[in-house]
Amino acid sequence: MHSMQLNGRLVNFEAGQTLLEVARANEVPIPTLCHHPGLESHGGCRLCVVEVTRAEWDGWWRMVSACEFPAADDLIVATESERLSRTRRNVVDLLLARCPETPFTVALGRDFGLAKSSLAPRAEPDDCILCGLCVRVCAAVGAHAIAGADRGVHKQVGPPYAPPSFERPPGLAPAGDCIGCLCCAEICPTGHIRYENNAQGREIWGRSFRVVECASCGAPLGTPEQLDHFAARSGLSRDYFERCDACSKLDTARAFDQQVMGEGTS
């Protein structure tokens, strides 16, 4: 068993855990924004910064992102300090200046004692805080339909070959690799990714999708692209995905019944 110091307390951890995981396991809160336990760590928001040092570092310390820093034996970690509060508040201040009207950042600002940003608001704000959750979830699902484009202050997220960077050639479908699973929109903390989802179909990233219905009960299942992708990814036959979970359950019941009946007669 490994152990390290967390806010002056000796805690155990398992090899491969990050500081954030160790802190959460010990009910020490650390604020996060771009972190999702199911996705690869990104380290972009810097809200989860903590201070680490070691006895042999002779007073030297560094600020690291807890979501990425690997826990290590004899590490001394502090999750709260005046410096950390100031740093986190400045990070939130910067995000609030980026998205001054977005309810999510406004609420975040309030949590950190900021009624409004002390900095100049972005000239043409949108709701994107560039946390990268959408890109990572899309990659995890295996669609790789969206990614970051451009860089620095101009960085944005979206499907390829999309305006405003340049004119998409006519005839080229928007968001070609998107499967319409809506995971990106679901995970987006600020609601920046707009979509429509109803019985008639789905719309996201400027692209419209049909919705496949359950072959027996008509319940909406997902887009054909989504089901194709699931079939390819799981190696299962595509037919398999034509029924909803409720109808599959009924099928299972029927199959059991016949099995039991069959045994009864034999």
Binding site: G38, L39, A140, F230, S234, S248, D251
Partner: protein, 178 residues
Amino acid sequence: MSEAKRLFVTPGRCIGCRGCEIACAFAHPVRRPGGHRPSDQPGKSRIRTFPMSAERHVPVVCLQCEEAACQAVCPTGALQRNEASGAIEVLTERCVRCMMCVVACPFGNVHDEPAMREIVKCDLCGGDPACAKFCPTAALEYAVRPTRNPPPKPLHSVAGGTRGQMAGAVSTTGPSVR
């Protein structure tokens, strides 16, 4: 492993009272998105009994397959087996609701719960399944081995053979007889 408890289903004993469904729903109350405390409102039942005729009823609940399709397709590792109870549980904080597990389960035992924005499935109530407790006829039994005669067939062996055309395609599934 031979001494681990499992959920046995004996359709022949089911009388279709649907007590299991109610027990399940109350054992898994609704958690509002973002809310940490469960509400009083019953949630979606993960077990369902289907009437096949006036006399015959079949309860269907997750088999906790040994090589589970739902777990295999999950892109974020959100489905993990609880080694203590043997149940495959949804680690909600890791889940991105991509629905792959819902469609991948050949038996229809993984569900989306839009009200809770969560994926739900049978978790054996952490090792003390409410459905079995409330079953008046022992059609559902949580035990090391079935307790009554005639000994019912474990569900697992039944499942393997029935939806064979599907199970065959699911190389990762194939529930096996223990």
